[in-house]
């Protein structure tokens, strides 16, 4: 089996993975980012998933903590907003699912090992969000290397 000739960094595949995970697992829709998107008011949470296989890299997913709490409630059917560990865990799983979907899309013929997500409190990036999820911004940053 040949190694990929080019590193798969196309944004469309990542956006597809994000939309699929949001819709299928969290019953949420990804909307385009409006021109007048406001700054995040409140704490942010970031999850980083590293992967290794035919190529290696990392996916960083950042979102307002309030969004992570909403996703946790949508996924578990319970209000776990006060449960910091559950919200952190869900943020990591969200990133894990997006990364897994993306890898399946761009390199279906290869096996990858995904490491346990690292979750931390982060600052809002200066860059534009990747999309709006439940009306709140979400950022995905992908780094890929041989």
């Amino acid at each position: 089996m040949n190694l990929p000739t080019a590193l798969p960094t196309d944004r469309a595949a990542l956006d597809r993975a994000l939309a699929m995970v949001a819709e299928e697992s969290f019953f949420a829709m990804i909307d385009p980012v409006p021109a007048d998107v406001s700054a995040v008011d409140g704490p942010m949470i970031g999850a980083r998933v590293t992967f290794e296989g035919a190529f290696s890299g990392a996916l960083n997913c950042r979102m307002p903590r309030a969004l992570a709490e909403e996703l946790t409630a949508a996924f578990t059917g319970e209000d776990l907003s006060a449960d910091t560990a559950a919200v952190d865990d869900l943020a990591g799983e969200f990133a894990n699912m997006v990364c897994g979907r993306w890898l399946t899309d761009v390199a279906p013929q290869w096996l990858f090992r995904l490491d346990h997500p690292e979750v931390a409190h982060v600052a809002a990036p200066a860059s534009a969000p990747s999309g709006m999820l439940n009306g709140q911004p979400i950022w995905l940053e992908l780094t890929v290397e041989k």
């Binding site: 299928e24 996924f75 559950a86 279906p108 013929q109 290869w110 346990h116």
Partner: protein, 127 residues
């Protein structure tokens, strides 16, 4: 129908809770639902309990899902029945799991999929 003993193996507590809920919604008779955070913990649970069905993630620290399944195969265990739950929907991953697991389902597993799998398993045990 004999109530099933089920083991859920995932490093995410939220995902274990989600599968546990799907099991409860399946309405299949269940005796116990046990949990483990990785393959090594799962082996200890399997050694100490009579497990009918094992739901396992693939990527986990300490011992991965495939490593767990290969260890069970190496030990010559026929039970528990193995269900792999993964975000990796690639054909190559499915092929890797052939012979190691009876079912392969995409993460997050849907309650109706859990119901179908457990019904098939419970009916097989009852036969």
């Amino acid at each position: 129908m004999k109530p099933l003993n089920i083991l859920i193996v995932d490093d995410s507590a939220t995902m274990r809770q989600f599968v546990r809920r799907a099991v409860q919604l399946s309405e299949v008779p269940v005796a116990n639902v046990l949990e483990a955070a990785n393959g090594k913990e799962a082996l200890a649970v399997i050694d100490a309990n009579e497990i009918d069905a094992l739901f396992t993630d693939i990527n986990m620290p300490v011992m991965s899902g495939p490593e767990l399944l290969r260890e069970l195969q190496r030990q010559g265990r026929e039970t528990p029945a193995r269900i792999v739950v993964s975000t990796d929907g690639s054909e190559v991953r499915r092929q890797e799991m052939e012979g190691l697991a009876r079912w392969y389902v995409n993460k997050p597993v849907r309650p109706e999929v859990v119901r179908d799998v457990l019904n098939e398993l419970a009916n097989g045990i009852a036969d």
